[in-house]
């Protein structure tokens, strides 16, 4: 039995874990049913909403800690709130109990997710450095690095020092106007540190169930692309030129039939369709639904905290420690 402040800290960790699980379930179920609604919003709003969704489970778990622990720490432990929500023996922690098991699972999941992501980042960084090493024609005056390769690609990578690249294979097939579109798009990614934002978001999304995490990552990726497309509009006012370039580059990057992996993405829900429709649409969508999001957050926080309390008491009764 661990007593005192160590016991308190471990109990707080246990509350964080249970609340995190409950909030992830509630938010995942909600996302599952409203997944298409995100396309109603402007690209930058969509990015903000997705960040909020990613952070929300962690905020909720802190909210649960405050609601469950604070009454126990203060002299006002007999308030109406503590009759609904409370955590027994907050200063005592039994390692060989469901609390101990929950912390064990939490640590395994948390550290394995972080470790996997760090390894991935290090590996990607090493590959990017390798690419830089072998690129011989790097011209530091050029904003976009040209890679001598037959591949048709343009991309931006690098977490803290994003760099934009275009292959000579792609460059050779573009008109100067199209090349400007591609360059401005990639430079917009680099300016807003999109690889780092994408990586940070994927870290938050990794705690959601796999299929929800994938959906969140795809939505975030699409929103970043749409935001980059939109930023090209500031230098090139004709959106049809950007849409045409997008279509052309996508066609050039297409694999020959037969070797192409099968996609289960329908035309109307395909990211390319969304990007082109978004570009061509004069109405870019709604702004951030502050009231709706705030209400949802409060509801999810209360439900999660209540679930923590219910689970805690159900297990206490079942196993009586």
């Amino acid at each position: 039995m661990i007593l005192g402040y160590w016991g308190l800290s471990l109990n707080i960790l246990s509350i964080i874990f249970v609340s995190l699980c409950a909030s992830l379930i509630f938010i995942s179920v909600t996302i599952y049913f409203i997944s298409n609604s995100l396309n109603r919003f402007q690209a930058n709003t969509k990015i903000s909403i997705l960040w909020c969704i990613g952070i929300l489970p962690w905020v909720i778990s802190l909210f649960s800690v405050i609601l469950l622990v604070l009454p126990e720490l203060t002299s006002k432990s007999d308030t109406w709130l503590s009759t609904f929500l409370h955590w027994h023996h907050i200063y005592q922690f039994e390692i060989l109990s469901w609390h101990g098991a929950s912390i064990g699972v939490f640590c395994i999941v948390f550290f394995s997710v972080c470790l996997t992501k760090i390894v991935k980042a290090v590996k990607a960084n090493a590959q990017l450095n390798q690419l830089d090493f072998f690129i011989q024609n790097t011209n530091s005056k050029q904003r976009l690095t040209v890679i001598e390769s037959e591949e048709s690609r343009a991309f931006t990578s690098g977490l803290f020092r994003p760099r934009s690249y275009i292959t000579s294979g792609l460059s050779a097939q573009l008109t100067s106007q199209e090349a400007t579109v591609v360059a401005e798009h990639e430079l917009a990614h680099a300016r807003s540190y999109d690889p780092l934002r994408k990586y940070g978001f994927s870290l938050l999304a990794a705690f959601f169930p796999t299929f929800i995490a994938q959906q969140l990552n795809n939505d975030f990726s699409l929103a970043l692309e749409q935001a980059a497309d939109e930023s090209v509009l500031s230098t090139m006012s004709d959106e049809t030129v950007i849409a045409k370039t997008l279509l052309k580059v996508s066609s050039l990057g297409q694999h020959p039939t037969g070797s192409m992996p099968l996609s289960n993405c329908h035309f109307s829900t395909h990211p390319l369709t969304f990007r082109i429709e978004y570009l061509l649409n004069d109405n870019k969508g709604q702004s951030f639904p502050i009231l709706l999001f705030f209400s949802f957050s409060i509801a999810a926080a209360l439900l999660s905290t209540l679930s923590v309390d219910l689970l805690h008491h159900a297990l206490e009764r079942l196993f009586s420690h």
Binding site: F134, F155, N217, S221, D238, T240, I276
Partner: protein, 129 residues
């Protein structure tokens, strides 16, 4: 594919010079980088095992040459960077112009083309009024 510092230098050297044996590579790097013949031999062996070099025995020594040309290797590197190591369709460490895979068929691409043309025609009509 991740290569060590010396592996990258040796591969680059072989792309620049063509067919070489371990002694020639050692002679090239001895002045600039130091090291031993053994280090160069094991580096060449590692590159051979990674299928980046091919070799042929001549007398007691192996003659090494590049098994893949520079542009093909860079193409492979680009694909590796873009692929997110096979876990998802879209790399979380990269933002690409057409990263969200372009697996639409010709009919679907034509449909998008039609949408763009419609918009262009509407803009022109709006501009003429």
């Amino acid at each position: 594919m991740n290569l060590g510092e010396l592996e990258k230098l040796v591969l680059q050297h072989i792309w620049d010079t063509g067919e070489v044996d371990a002694k020639q590579v050692f002679a090239h790097f001895e002045k600039t980088r130091g090291g031993t013949l053994n280090t160069i031999q094991s580096t060449l062996d590692r590159l051979y095992k990674k299928n980046l070099l091919s070799r042929e025995k001549q007398g007691h020594a192996y003659l090494y040459k590049a098994a893949i040309n520079r542009n093909a290797f860079i193409g492979q590197l680009i694909n590796d960077i873009a692929s997110d190591f096979g876990s998802t369709r879209d790399s979380p460490l990269l933002a690409a112009f057409s990263s969200l895979t372009s697996d639409l068929d010709n009919e679907q691409l034509d449909e998008l083309e039609r949408l763009i043309e419609e918009k262009r025609a509407a803009s022109r009509a709006g501009g003429n009024q």
